[in-house]
Amino acid sequence: MNQSISQDTTGATPVTQSDAAPGIKIKADKVKVFYGEKQALFDVDLDINENEVTSLIGPSGCGKSTFLRSLNRMNDTIDICRVEGSIALDGEDIYDKNVDVVHLRARVGMVFQKPNPFPKSIFDNVAYGPRIHGLVDNKSDLDQIVQTSLEKAGLWNEVKDRLDQPGTGLSGGQQQRLCIARAVAVSPEVILMDEPCSALDPIATAKIEELIDELRSNFTIVIVTHSMQQAARVSQKTAFFHLGYLVEVDETEKMFTNPTDERTQGYITGRFG
């Protein structure tokens, strides 16, 4: 599977990650989130750089998933949820009332904790996004998008002979890569991943991590993870959340070798969490 990815990425002349100052893709400013009366996030300020992987870590219930879900307004589906402060995508506030949520979610895609392929064929799963957004004019374009997306997700070689079979019949790791392919097919600018490997075995996890590293050349990625090793392996920047507060955010390397805050130190060395 790796061959197809490397072919693709080399062919597409990726944006080089080592460039000195990457641009800011998403800027969160004093974000507060409430579930009913209960406040889940307190004044979170966080910049997410373009073409980087930013990982959000912290103990369960610390608000990292809530923050992730407010980046594409997925929290809108929860009746009692309320967001204050501003989150700007390319300088535009996504909570502005003129923003079309549907359009926003096409630009900021999402991969969930549990693989959730639609009860459709593998092909239709990937073609879902391009179809509803009218990204293609004819069948051969659609075939092309489906193939490229599956290649980017490293799944093409495993499923190319059975595209008409149900996506739900794949293994857990393959389903998750199918979900990534599905997100990639819409050509989003940002991909949010909510613990994408927590339901997978180590081999499938390794594949997904490799994939995340490949994907960051084309996309900005924000990933929530419970695994410190995963954060260290895949991300350039790490943010530590605790009890609804953003405690510390820095270059991943610095976070894991020399964190400033005592709580971060305690969490990453396994003293609590």
């Binding site: 997925m74 096409a106 959730n116 639609f118």
Partner: protein, 461 residues
């Protein structure tokens, strides 16, 4: 003692056995539950079962066979000339003897000595039978208790035995349900066969005329009896079709609103209210159809220059459709709500709108359940009687025009069996044949529904 009293005695003995078992088990274990293999309750159930099951089976057997055995003894005691009477007269005689022994009136004007003797004899053997039963029952139940009590020891696996017994009881219950169904089907089948001796099956299934009036007396003329089921089936289909045209869209849309759009408060109120519709007696729908809807359609037809009879398939079908809306909406709502939230979020996460998500993800995922609910509604529509009797009429017209009066299979079954009937006439037996057809149609519908559900069932884990 009568049967209810005996059942009561058995229940008391069982309860006594239960407590005996508990205390006995605790006693053998030296008062410590942890020394026992099972919890003390299970030893109680163990003795209770040993007491109740044999006694219960005995009572059931006695109830089943007592009458025929006593009748046999009664006949055997009668003088020889009475024994040789024709079957019908003999059964009348036995009835009289029984009535006399209860002190009721008999069909005879004078009660002769022989009859009185027979009645006394019957009363005697009946009381003997009851005494015998009481004796055997008490011995059996107490014997069961004693036997089981002997076996109680700390290492007795009472829990395993009780679980096994519970499983057997459940198997018996499910068997009863299956056997009842089988019995009903067989009785339908045999009565239908009797009907098909009088009317050729092909004439029945493919006949285009339905006019079941037959001559009751030999000297009556004119009424020949035509038993062609096609007009009835066509009427049933027409009315069911109209009903589904109302119920399917309205029910599905209501279900979509309730499961996808409505806030949980609204759903909590609207859903039970819709389900009340299913609780209205069909006869109420019937007069609503006959007195309100049908005249409304007739007048409305006049305005448009259409001739709509005051008993029309349209009125009956519309009202029936309203009646079965809750069947569609409630079940479809349940299956749509059961579609995992992760699928919705997956779709929203790709930038799909709510209606795109519903059309392309929720509905396909819920399809088996929706089809199931629709077919259940169809079965209900086909089997519905009261509304059609009142609003669609009795005329067996073979027509596809919803403005005319039609009749259905169920309505004709009702009219065939209402009133005084000869029980072996073709007219009466036709009801069974119609019942058989109805059963076959709903059976086929159910099989189709199951096939669809199995074929398109999706596994979400």
């Amino acid at each position: 003692m009568s049967f209810p009293v005996l059942f009561g005695v058995l229940a008391l003995l069982t309860i006594f056995g239960y407590f005996l078992g508990r205390s006995r088990a605790l006693a053998t274990a030296g008062g410590h539950v942890r020394n026992l293999h099972s919890l003390p309750n299970y030893y109680g159930y163990y003795i209770g079962l040993w007491c109740a099951v044999p006694g219960f089976l005995l009572l059931l057997a006695w109830m089943g066979f007592e009458t025929s055995i006593l009748d046999g003894m009664l006949v055997a005691s009668l003088p020889a000339d009475k024994q040789n009477l024709p079957a019908a007269e003999l059964s009348l005689l036995i009835n009289d003897v029984k009535n006399l022994s209860h002190g009721d009136v008999t069909s005879r004007e004078v009660v002769d000595v022989a009859l009185q003797d027979a009645a006394d004899f019957y009363a005697h053997i009946k009381s003997m039978s009851k005494m015998l039963l009481t004796g055997i029952l008490v011995v059996l139940a107490c014997g069961g208790i004693l036997l089981a009590r002997q076996r109680i020891a700390p290492e007795l696996r009472a829990r395993n035995s009780v679980e096994k017994a519970a499983m057997v009881i459940m198997i018996i219950c499910s068997t009863i349900a299956v056997l009842t169904t089988l019995g009903i089907i067989l009785s339908l089948l045999f009565e239908s066969l009797r009907f098909f001796e009088k009317v050729h099956p092909l004439d029945f299934v493919f006949g285009l005329e339905w006019s079941p009036q037959t001559a009751i007396r030999k000297d009556q003329v004119g009424a020949t009896g035509l038993f062609g089921a096609i007009p009835l089936l066509a009427g049933t289909m027409l009315i069911s079709l109209i009903a589904m045209c109302v119920a399917a869209p309205v029910g599905l849309m209501a279900a979509i609103y309730m499961s996808e759009y409505a806030p949980s408060k609204v759903r909590g109120t609207v859903k039970p209210m819709l389900e009340i519709l299913a609780g209205i007696p069909t006869v109420v729908y019937g007069f609503f159809a006959a007195l309100t809807v049908a005249p409304f359609f007739r007048d409305w037809g006049l305005d448009f220059g259409l001739t709509i009879s005051s008993e029309s398939a349209l009125a009956a079908g519309m009202v029936m459709g309203i009646m079965i809306i809750p069947f569609v909406s409630s079940l479809s709502d349940d299956v749509m709500s059961a579609v995992p939230q992760s699928l919705r979020e997956g779709s929203y996460g790709l930038g799909a709108t709510k209606s795109e998500t519903i059309r392309q993800v929720i509905l396909p995922a819920a399809l088996p359940g929706i089809v199931g609910s629709l077919l259940l509604a169809v079965s209900r529509a086909i089997g519905e009687t009261m509304i059609v009797v009142m609003a669609a009429g009795l005329a067996a017209n073979l027509t596809a025009n919803p403005f005319e009066a039609v009749t259905t299979v169920t309505v004709q079954i009702v009219t065939l069996l209402v009133g005084d009937q000869e029980f072996d006439s073709a007219k009466t037996l036709a009801a069974f044949a119609l019942g058989l057809i109805l059963f076959c149609v709903t059976l086929v519908l159910n099989i189709i529904a199951l096939t669809i559900v199995n074929k398109y069932r999706e596994q979400y884990d």
